[in-house]
Symmetry: none
DNA sequence: TATGAATGAGAATTCATTCAT
DNA sequence: GATGAATGAATTCTCATTCAT
């Protein structure tokens, strides 16, 4: 509770911090409302900074979107190394049932800015992630398709929790959610 | 009033037909691109009619959206009556793997116009549909949650097929897709 | 003085007329103030029409500029055919000393929108016009250079009359101006 | 205070030098692109200094413009004293055909910042310079008008060489240019 | 019923300028 | 003296909607 040289509040004119504030605010808006429904002013207001700093730091709204996408890709890349099937599944489940539904790589990955070049990137990232997931299960004729179904389901569940936010799924007990989702994935990804 | 003349230029100035053309075009756009990213001009052009007819027939873009939602609700209402669990599951699966991904009640239901009143309607419709689905399975403590997970997964898979459209899931063999989805739902909805 | 079914004022919702009003207003602004210093709102207000009609009819401010340039080129093209040297000179002189200094092809031709593609066009048009002028005089080693000097001088005089507008040159007696300008051109273009 | 150290990184934090760098960069930009099309950032970058120094040294973009104008006036003032007609004409010709087209008092004088107060100054300077030129020739009824025509022509030729930059006029042989321009002025200013 | 011209609000972006370091 | 972060006003353009024909 001490405020001794508190690093909070005091620092202003901190470019890196401003950038991060914008990035965080943007991600939440893009995930909840989508690209087109989000205005740069919304984002700047949420971040508590001046609108034109978006252009200063990210060149354009589209640039900010791409930066958010980059962060999502980084998150998705966390299960790269040789993890076991169960470990990978655990990560996917964790992503779906995470405490902050507005920070979800799967939902971010499915949001489109309408730019075809970025859409192509998104498609490539998705395929790459699906391949990794497929490699975790037993190889089979439809391994990639199965992995995509898991990702799509994960995205759908995460979206429902972040966009429409109906109950009980939005505030469900993490343990229960975890168990159900593990069952779901187990059923689709061959052991 | 005979039908002899011009089967070539068959119906012009046909209010009902114009309305339906707009409705169909709008649904496809809303499902693929979302509400905010869709312009009324896009819709009118797709339908091949004049833009201002949207306001004439639906009062506003929002009104058109609501009409599309109504159609989705009608579709969702088809599994109302006392169907068996397997029949209901079969319908859900059919909705996900349907041949026209741009005509999907689950995706439409998850699209938002940003209007809170309509969002509340959407939430209500979702809950109502989830209840129906829950009632099909064995009653249990988390029946509604399980049903929502199924719907959310269905929405996610359908969205991936209609929005990002990656392969192989987009052009997957219907039979294979059907089998995998049935497994998925079976795992979540208690028999 | 009769106002019987006056074609003035009454017609509204006349696309062609609106387009022309914008074109005229834009030309005057571009010539007097230049491209960058002119706002689309200035133009629309001068024309007495809504700003967004500029985008409707000319796609963009740049498109409107290009259209103005096109009109200038048309004017410049009027001395195409086999006119005599004196006739061509008379036309150049008329352009400089014309009653409306804000409708001058030479000044318009020298205004830049900053777009390199259009700048290239302008350069080509200028060269082409200079060649025509050069062809009117006696052929010589510096015929094209001489023609360009004449055009540049014409542009300079017209600009001074339309932009800075100092006296006495701005309100000079047309006959006097005519005589002086003819002397000037005569001195540069070899007979 | 010795100059022994660092001839490499010679002057930093030298106010006078920074001022001059900005002045030079600004003049070139204003002459080539005009006031409105030039951004203070362009100027600062060209000068290799920080943008906000423009406000520090010249109070505003407008102040910088005025300073550039002052420099042009100084140049123009060089033919003040009792020079002969031919000497004055030689100076005008030199100004037009000078090696650096982006350093031209006539062009600078014709550029507007849009500020009416400064425009009035420019008009006054022009008149004053025209009077001096008029005084060099034989007095006559249209002496001032003749002088303005010469200045306007000079401006036009200089502008063409600095803005649109078409060939052959831009890279013309100075001697040839000199001869042609002398002929031009001779024809307008009565001997 | 349909068309397309016109409108006005709102969006992203640019840019001169100010402020803190 | 210099830097670069931040601000706010202005600008172009888009888009849903209304109006006249």
């Amino acid at each position: 509770m001490s405020d001794l040289d508190s690093p909070v509040e005091p620092r202003r004119r901190d470019a890196a911090r401003t950038r991060q504030l914008l990035l965080d605010a943007a991600r939440r808006r893009f995930i909840r409302d989508g690209y087109a429904a989000t205005t740069v002013r919304d984002i700047a207001d949420d971040a508590g900074v001046n609108v034109s700093l978006i252009n200063r730091y990210f060149a354009s709204k589209e640039g900010l979107f791409e930066a958010c996408l980059g962060a999502a890709v980084t998150d998705l890349g966390n299960d790269t190394d040789g993890l076991s099937r169960d470990e990978i599944i655990a990560r996917v489940v964790a992503r779906i049932s995470g405490r902050d539904p507005l920070d979800n790589a799967y939902v971010m990955l499915m949001r489109s800015s309408g730019d075809e070049r970025i859409d192509e990137m998104r498609r490539a990232i998705l395929i790459s992630h699906a391949r990794k997931l497929a490699a975790a299960g037993t190889p089979g004729p439809h391994a990639l398709l199965r992995a995509q179904i898991v990702i799509a389901a994960a995205f759908g569940i995460a979206t429902m929790r972040s966009a429409l936010q109906p109950e009980p799924i939005t505030s469900a007990d993490p343990a229960v959610l975890h168990a159900l989702l593990t069952d779901l994935i187990d059923a689709v990804l061959p052991r």
